[in-house]
Subunit: 187 residues, 2 copies
């Protein structure tokens, strides 16, 4: 996923769109609203992206570029524990840093459908699963991978953690993720 | 939450509605579709529930009655580990048994809004959190409670576990939940 292909003008549209998506949902956000947020005309937004669908794709590409980098780093590790450490710590960092938009990426029906059907997203999700599953995709490994994928992203947008600062949230999430995988946990 | 207040005719509407909600979402389901699924007229459905909103409420009441029973049982335990065991095992049982509708209850925007705003649902959710948090709602306890609430319900509807049978899914989920709480795990 090469977000370098987005121009500066396109990136501004993507940033404004994502903030609106997080508040109003994708279906509740119009191109006019994105234009208004940027102080430009709707035609100017159209000039960057000919459809809202393409803005949603660009938004997901931008947000998932770092997930792609995290999986690539994990895949490069030969040791299973090391690969898990790399993936879990980078995914936790990413989820905490983007905590105000993670819920949109996980639950907005338009985004969910896109991530499930529009390459390269399903391929990226399969790579995440592969690292989490390891060489033996037993029932235990699959249940754990499913819980991990949901719990990290889901927890950062949960009301119970709303007033926990980023550093604390990061270290507690990583500790819980390590517990699930039986990795060493510092106390 | 007293589901005994639903008549047999109301329960049939609730069951049919929930199956449709799971496939089409609440907003994609009309009273006519519910009537068609039951082989009755729309007027007959109206006779049981004057609005779709009330069907959604009745559906949530029906599904959450057992969660209410589980929390009540956990609250009756004086010992913290025992209370957690009771809640986690009953919530896992419930999530696995209702795995085909859990995703609707967790993610359908209409249901999510209802559960957050319409008593007794927010009160029930607060009781679940209280048992999970224990006496000291530290950051660790809050992150773990958030992950647990999301991960159990979220995992049962995850594609990675789709072909795992109910018994295996139940025991693996419970094992992972125990790990998060540092409870003894049988192997």
């Amino acid at each position: 996923m090469d977000t370098a292909t987005h121009t500066a003008a396109q990136s501004r549209v993507v940033d404004a769109a994502l903030e609106l998506f997080a508040v109003r949902g994708v279906n509740g956000t119009s191109l006019q609203m994105i234009a208004d947020a940027l102080g430009v005309t709707k035609a100017a937004v159209y000039h960057q992206f000919p459809s809202k669908e393409q803005i949603v794709v660009a938004t997901a590409e931008t947000e998932l570029a770092r997930l792609d980098a995290a999986v690539t780093a994990a895949e490069a590790e030969e040791d299973r524990s090391r690969a898990l450490e790399v993936l879990l710590s980078q995914v936790v960092d990413l989820a905490v840093e983007r905590r105000h938009v993670v819920s949109t990426l996980m639950h907005d029906p338009v985004v969910v459908r896109l991530l499930a059907t529009h390459e390269p997203f399903p391929r990226l999700m399969a790579r995440v699963s592969r690292v989490l599953l390891g060489a033996a995709p037993t029932a235990e490994a699959r249940v754990r991978a499913a819980m991990t994928q949901i719990a990290i992203g889901g927890a950062v947008s949960h009301p119970l953690v709303a007033d926990i600062d980023d550093d604390t949230l990061r270290s507690e999430l990583l500790r819980m993720a390590r517990r699930l995988f039986g990795l060493p946990v510092d106390r």
